[in-house]
């Protein structure tokens, strides 16, 4: 009995850990898409910030500095996407794909430049688990939910914050309006370009938190292509969650569970490769079952031009 609970607790805890980067990235993607810019570059944003975080922490010896460099890198790459798609009217999906390749090639290039070789970076100071007294004592849920890295607690706070910002504040109203009908927002005297820049910039910062959690929360080092499709799964979570913070977080938890299950399942019964396929297969099923019915912001994907 105890063993069963123990396994369940482990599974839950692992689910939270796997879902956290997805939730950060999905919330980031939400700001971008709600402003009308598709951000398929979430994968790359996470990757470059996972790397930048490790470099920052490596050079300074401080995890917090690492978090700062991660966010700066995520923001910088997001701004590249913003400049290309909003100002220069590049195709958003293609620009996002380029961001992913840029992050992949860029981290490869910089691994050699900074650490002297590719592969895996040296270990750095990360965000280790912090036990929250009392809450962590709740049976079953406590240890899984409240004995986690600081970044996980930040994620808990960000879901309701995102909801509030998006649905209760003037900023959120304008952002949603921009994604639905930039013309309407423009004629109401709101600067469409600025709103879209905000949306994409926020996606960079939030995806960076996800990337930092991968390299400094789950691991304490960077390995090449360590995001491994998480940015795309986060996008699927965003669609499945109907561009709503709570929905996206719920979908991300589902995908996180699939990943956690992959690690926990007995490998002697099912070949490893099939277990590893599971999250991706699940994403496919979810998209096929629900993706078509989801209604994206009406103007997403289309550049806005005034003349």
């Amino acid at each position: 009995m105890e063993e069963l609970f123990g396994n369940f607790g482990q599974l839950l805890s692992s689910t939270i850990r796997n879902a956290t980067p997805l939730i950060f990235a999905a919330l980031g993607g939400m700001f971008s898409e709600r402003s009308g810019v598709v951000n398929i570059g979430l994968e790359g944003l996470m990757l470059i910030s996972a790397f930048a975080g490790v470099v920052g922490a490596f050079l300074s010896g401080s995890a917090l500095v690492g978090l700062g460099t991660a966010m700066a890198a995520g923001l910088a790459f997001a701004l590249i996407h913003a400049v290309m798609t909003i100002t220069f009217e590049a195709d958003q999906i293609i620009s996002g794909t380029a961001i992913n390749l840029l992050a992949l090639g860029g981290t490869g290039f910089l691994m050699v430049e900074v650490f002297g070789s590719g592969g895996t970076s040296p270990n750095v100071q990360g965000f280790s688990a912090v036990r929250i007294p009392l809450l962590a004592d709740i049976p079953l849920l406590g240890p899984a939910l409240f004995n986690q890295s600081l970044l996980v607690y930040l994620m808990y706070a960000l879901v309701p914050t995102t909801y509030f910002v998006l649905f209760k504040t003037p900023f959120g109203l304008r952002l949603r309006g921009t994604g639905e009908s930039p013309e309407a927002v423009d004629t109401a005297g709101v600067n469409v370009f600025r709103m879209r820049y905000y949306g994409v910039a926020l996606s960079g910062i939030l995806a960076a938190l996800g990337g930092a959690y991968l390299s400094m929360g789950i691991l304490s080092a960077f390995t090449e292509n360590m995001t491994n499709g998480r940015g795309f799964i986060a996008l699927a979570a965003l669609i499945f969650g109907r561009w709503h913070p709570v929905g996206a977080a719920g979908a991300a938890l589902l995908f996180g569970f699939a990943q956690a299950f992959t690690f926990q399942a007995p490998q002697d019964v099912v070949p490893l490769e099939f277990l590893q396929m599971l999250p991706y297969v699940l994403t496919l099923i979810v998209l096929a079952g629900f993706g078509g019915r989801a209604i994206a912001p009406a103007a997403v994907g289309k550049p806005y031009r005034k003349e």
Partner: protein, 519 residues
Amino acid sequence: MTERQSASGVADAAPVVLEMKGVTKTFGPVVANDDISLTLKRGEILGLLGENGAGKSTLMKILYGLYSPDKGSISIEGEEVKIKDPKDAVSRGVGMVHQHFTLIPRLTVAENIVLGAEPTKGGRVDMARATRDTEELCERYGLRVDPRSRVSDLSVGVQQRVEILKALYRSARILVLDEPTAVLTPQETEDLFSVLKELVGDGLSIILITHKLGELRGVSDNITIIRDGKVVDTVKTSDTDEGELAKLMVGREVLLRVSKEKSEVGEVRLSAADLVVKGNSGSVAVHGVSLEVKAGEILGIAGVDGNGQTELAEALAGTRVAESGAVLLDGEDITKVGANGRQRLGLAYVPEDRGTKGLVQDFSLSENNAIKTYEKAPFSSRFGWIFPKAMRRSAAENLRAYDVRPPDPDARAGSLSGGNQQKAVLARELSGDPGVIVASQPTRGVDVGAIEFIHGQLLKQREEGKAILLISLELEEVRSLSDRIIVLYNGRISGEVGPDATDEELGLLMAGRGMDESA
């Protein structure tokens, strides 16, 4: 009727609130506005009249800061101003109701109204106050709208009210309405005009953009006419008549009414029985419509936009699958036949939207010309090959026959003007000598020359004994071309009248009244 100072409505001594001087705007080689000047006085309703493409909308977009002029100046309340974006315009008291509404369907009325100028409380949008403010505005100007309803649930007429409220909420003193009556029934138009009179009584000044000659009578004080980007004249509404306005607007004598001969009406060619069709949103758009079109007649379908016309036309043409009911062509059930098949059986279809349906903008005219017949000889072989040269030859012929300019089969469809694109569609649809023609808004957004040409072609087809179904939002067009008129309301036929029906009769049917009696 409100009490007004004079026949022209506004005292000559009223202060000038807006003066635009020498405004010029070019887009590449096209001069959209050429040295345009106009003045607007307090309490005045100024009509801005011109054809499609004359430059009216460009001028107003300059006033609203959406375009920046190459030359010229704008003064508001005697002060020269630079308007660099809509925000500037709003702060100067300029409000605009665009032809295509700028509302966000998924937001509520109140959210749409306060967007960009939200009342806040502790960092969040104060929705209670937004709702209250909206209600107050509605009260004050007699515009009935529920601030809590979603815009997507509202009729077009009500959405227009929301647009006006949006401007009023931002304390507009100058209100510009771009083609506001295009989407209204005659009665709704009357209602709108009485609201406008209410507003000018309150000290606002209004510019009313239109290409319809008749409707300015009884509402505007003065009319400024624009042709080819230039101001032709400004006249007092009370001193002019439609004939003069038409001449000013087009630059030559225009036949206001099409003359059509009586034609021999023959057998029923196209009929629909109890047709039920769903719209894009999945809800039923056409509820059991039955109709018959006979050889040698034009059956007009009138109605306010969005009452099922599009879905009906598409179901008849086969590009949309009907839920139930039947479509018969020459007595044969073609309900299950696709668009291609129907075309082969002699049913031509001119879709309402040449931009996204009628033409592939990035295809050449020759490819567009063959888009429905590419599977047949001489355009392709049985083995799947197509023959571009044959396509080009046939296109060249058709383009010349229908006066498409340029008549170059290799030209990209999207590079043509609206009128020429429409002629290219017509060329393709009519060249196959179809027996039945479904024409949906065939003259939407084209210039008078093209309108005359298209009307002429339709009447010629009628004389040749074709059965024609004409769907149009322009009452004048339906009345002048049709032999019989059916009015659609909410996806049902609300009545049938002759071409001599009055505005009032048609208007009542377009608003769905008179349906209960017939049921």
